[in-house]
């Protein structure tokens, strides 16, 4: 019964939330290819994905948090704190493998802490994660000061340069990881028991509670998941950059949240899809790279993403407004002719 509810075709037959991101993706592709003939070459596209994979992973995990009706503003700071722990342990001579494990564990603990504060004290997640955004970033600054930790071993650095499948476009390791992660998260959200509970407790917390779903546990798991993924991203970003400073990943949370919302997940919870987040991530990537090719300032690139965010929410609203008005007029005319 449960699986039939998830599998039912009517739910995903017309994925309206994918229309906007896909349109943006196509337009950005065309615009970028006007700037340079190399823009649409598979190898350059694949190469460009490397810098966005952390944002993508954070966005995938945030999808669960946002479907619950919560928000986690602290993901980038959690990432920084995990990277800080990794760097500090490495400096004191711990083998790099254990540093990575500690980094992921730190992310898990910090995410769990977010969830526990939100649930045990009954506080709004917006405020709590705003506070931990400052708190975790502050911890990173206290740990690292204004120093730089570098000199990571050869075998650890350059994760994004490695190819899982060789060849001329090839498949770089981060992209492969992202594909695997999206498939796993897709199964968790749309095919598993947890995903169903996640969507149900987001759309109606109190009735879910009465029907035997522990809404608080579902929310706690989502927060812990988001923290853990931030810990994994900390390892990736350290390997990619080859050094750690205290402002690592500053502002990534806004891009990640933008990707989730652009992908059609309702900011008030109860609705959302992994496919939306994935397509939205690639749309954001295409827009930014197209603007880079056209030599446009970074702040203006952010502005373009912001504008797209607003338009993807606004345009369907305007459309439905006009459709409703037309229907109302039709009903009015029908009632006039009847009398």
């Amino acid at each position: 019964m449960m699986s039939s509810m998830v599998n039912s075709k009517s739910r995903f037959s017309i994925p309206g939330y994918l229309v906007g991101p896909f349109l943006i993706l196509i337009v950005a592709m065309i615009y970028g290819s006007l700037g340079s003939e190399y823009f649409l070459q598979p190898s350059s596209i694949v190469f460009n994905t490397g810098r966005y994979i952390e944002i993508g992973l954070l966005a995938l995990a945030l999808t669960f948090v946002i479907i619950n009706g919560d928000i986690d503003l602290s993901v980038a700071s959690t990432l920084a704190a995990s990277a800080g722990v990794l760097a500090k342990l490495f400096e004191s001579g711990v083998p790099i493998v254990w540093c990575c494990v500690a980094s992921v564990f730190t992310g898990f603990i910090l995410g769990l802490l977010n969830g526990l504060i939100v649930i045990k004290f009954g506080l709004p997640s917006l405020v709590v994660t705003l506070a931990t955004l400052a708190l975790y970033r502050g911890l990173t600054q206290v740990m690292l000061g204004d120093g730089v930790v570098a000199d990571y071993p050869e075998s650890f650095v350059g994760f994004d340069q490695r190819l899982v499948i060789g060849g001329s476009p090839g498949l770089p390791a981060p992209l492969a990881l992202f594909i695997v992660a999206s498939i796993i998260f897709y199964y968790i959200l749309h095919r598993s028991n947890y995903g169903l509970k996640n969507i149900m407790s987001g759309s109606n917390p109190s009735s879910s509670n009465f029907s035997g779903i522990s809404v608080n546990n579902v929310r706690l798991i989502a927060f812990a998941l988001s923290g853990t993924v931030a810990g994994v991203c900390a390892v990736m970003i350290t390997s990619r950059l080859g050094s750690t400073i205290s402002n690592v990943g500053l502002g990534l949370e806004l891009l990640a949240i933008t990707a989730v919302v652009l992908g059609g997940t309702d900011i008030f919870g109860g609705r959302g899809a992994i496919s939306g987040t994935v397509v939205a991530l690639f749309a954001i990537m295409a827009v930014r790279e197209a603007l880079v090719i056209q030599d446009i300032n970074g702040q203006v690139q952010d502005a373009a993403i912001g504008l797209l965010l607003i338009l993807t929410v606004l345009v369907p609203r305007i459309r439905s407004y006009y459709v409703e008005q037309r229907n109302r007029k039709k009903r009015f005319n029908e009632s006039q002719t009847r009398t």
Binding site: L123, L126, A131, L133, G138, Q299, D302, G306, I310
Partner: protein
Amino acid sequence: MATELKSKVTYIFKKREFGIFLFILILLAVFGSLEPRFFRSDNLSAILSSVGILMVVGAGQTLVIVTRNIDLSVGSSLGMAAMVMGMVARSRPDFSIVGLILIAMVVGGICGLINGLLVSYGKIPSIIATLGTLAIFRGAVFVVSDNVQIDPNDVPKGIIALSTTSPIGIPWLLIFAFLSIVLVWYISSQTLLGKRIYAVGSNPEGAISRGLSFNKITIMVFVFVGVLAGLGGVLYTARYATINPADVGRGLEFDVISAVVIGGTNIFGGSGTALGTALGCILIGILSNGLTVVGVSPFWKACATGFLILAAVAIDNLVRKRQEENFLLAIRNQRTVK
């Protein structure tokens, strides 16, 4: 019965702000005893002028949060207003100071109007709409200024004088901060509009079914915070004398929202006072200055702010729960007496 309940409610409101006030006194005592230089007049005036900008914008943000919305774009609107004002001043050095201030406020108001229209008629959740405009306005600052900063030579002397000179011994900057807090206090507690703003925040459906124009009130509060952010842009220019497109007002939204939340405004709307916000701003100002003066590494500042927000919200929540219990008890007692 009504008066008794009212006195009870006002008593608790007073108590909440009293708690922040007490905490400020404790901080002052701690910092002062650790480092006597903390109480030197130049240090105190440095604290106050950084608090002033926060207070002007925080006053507006309080009303926005009371209506269950949030404005993340205040830092960028402030930057936009300051930049446009600076460019007018650069191209026409003889422009009057009052005119420049008005220009900044109008530009801020337009930014607020855009936010308000998106949230009210566009029906976009305010956190998404202002997350978008946060980036858009910042991009607009770059486009308008062509990525060229306004140098101190191009900022009129009259604007810089706002942070130093004064008619009555207090710099204009603080007078503006004080006036905006008083204005928000007046609107929220003395006018019908204020009652409507709080009504929309505490029960939107109820307010709409009572015939309040939800959209009009939403637009009004957003324009209000925009105008105050424009004024904040003037004060920012007065204090720092340069307007850099990347730096002006960046990250201000975080400090402002922290101050408002520490001041006891409920992030879910319906309650919050101007006095609380003012105290929250002062608390943040004292904390960040005091840590530096006492010699604690500035890296602890972000940690301290984070802890402070958590503590403020947790205590606030406990107070609110107890208040609700007392309220219910009072009603029950009234019933049994009758």
